[in-house]
Point group: C2
Chain length 238, copies 2
């Protein structure tokens, strides 16, 4: 694990040598340099997927047609599989998955409830924005994990099946009701701030440290750029 | 497909010869002799699994602990996989899954909403009773399906992973709060009637035909006997 912040002594694992293209002299911090301890990464990630699954479940239950219900159910299946894969990794690391996830339950649940939106379309947009940004974030954070975790987490989380499938449903919704576009664009913008706070909480930085936040800026700029591209895919302004 | 009721001309598929142990002269009807057309079987089954999944999703969202949330999420995953397997079979038969399921949406959703119960434990009990009886029913109905469907549907639906996992959660709930036992027993009894009506609607019999209902009796007695065994597993009187 790369650790540029020598001031924090609680890291017990040996530092990994920085990659050739990531000189410690450059004052920009990629998320792979802020990777939390493995159990925290897995547990936080697992609970986020579980909560995203719950959000998708609500979208399934409230879906306006059997077709959209079925489409969202496929997304939910992928997300649930991701949750179970992360839980299985926790167990493999000798931890009880439920116990390890517990510390993240309250904050993640509160976050997901805050971003539910006013109706079915906003709920779906929330799943789209949140999964897009946070899966990106966790793929990047995985860069600093030990063993084959960087590759395995990329294989698990970097695929576009979730966002592509949600984009397809959202695009149909917007086509059927073009007035939705401006409302969903607004709602999407509203979601970014809260979601980036979750991304921040997933990184291994002390809370409320302005200096580290400045250093996080480039990584967050990248997350937001990818988010903007995903909003473009829907024809929406981010 | 075995069809003992010659009076119904709408069956277009060739009858299968009755098995040696199922003489048409015996006036008892197994569910394998009341198998509906394949598309109806698959579509009704697929929508029932989807609705059961929604019920389980509600149980996940409302779960009192991360541990129970995680346990129920594994059950939901199995049920969602069953839904997707049945949907895939519909597509393989050249049908659009969502369109094929549509005629069953309203009645199945109404059924599941009717059996939600008053709280988390009753919701979980509903999933236990409903999945137990209806998966049994669909395994038996599969006996009259063409091709390798009888074997494949048995492999898909006859496993005990759903009811075993739900029984484990329910048993812990009852151990932690013994007063629950009598309430859940009562609720379980309340569920059987409604669930058997769904089982009846899945079989290929004309609605409201008292004669056919009498003939169904032995098959239903068997479904109820298995239900009673599952309630016994929880230490509850059926």
């Amino acid at each position: 694990m790369v650790n540029l912040f020598k001031k924090r002594p609680r890291r017990s694992q040996p530092s990994r040598a920085p990659r050739a293209d990531q000189s410690p002299s450059i004052n920009r911090v990629g998320l792979a340099q802020l990777t939390p301890e493995l159990p925290r990464y897995l547990a936080h990630g697992a609970y986020l997927q579980l909560s995203l699954f719950e959000t998708l479940s609500k979208a399934i239950i409230a879906a306006p047609t059997t077709k959209t219900k079925t489409a969202v159910s496929r997304v939910a299946d992928v997300v649930l599989d991701r949750h179970h894969a992360l839980s299985a990794d926790l167990e493999r690391e000798g931890l009880d998955a439920a116990t390890a996830m517990e510390p993240f339950a309250a904050s993640v649940t509160a976050f997901h409830e805050r971003v539910h939106g006013a109706d079915w379309d906003e709920l779906l947009m929330s799943a789209y924005v949140v999964s897009g940004i946070l899966d990106d974030c966790f793929v990047q954070l995985a860069g600093g994990l030990p063993g084959d975790y960087p590759e395995r987490m990329t294989a698990l989380l970097a695929g576009d099946e979730v966002t592509d499938a949600l984009a397809a449903v959202l695009s149909e919704e917007i086509s059927a009701n073009p007035k939705l576009a401006s409302r969903l664009a607004l709602w999407g913008r509203r979601l970014v701030g809260d979601t980036l706070l979750v991304a921040r909480s997933a990184a291994d930085i002390p809370q409320d440290t302005a200096t580290d936040d400045e250093r996080l800026e480039p990584a967050f700029t990248e997350l937001v750029a990818d988010h903007t591209r995903r909003m473009d895919d829907l024809g929406l302004t981010a």
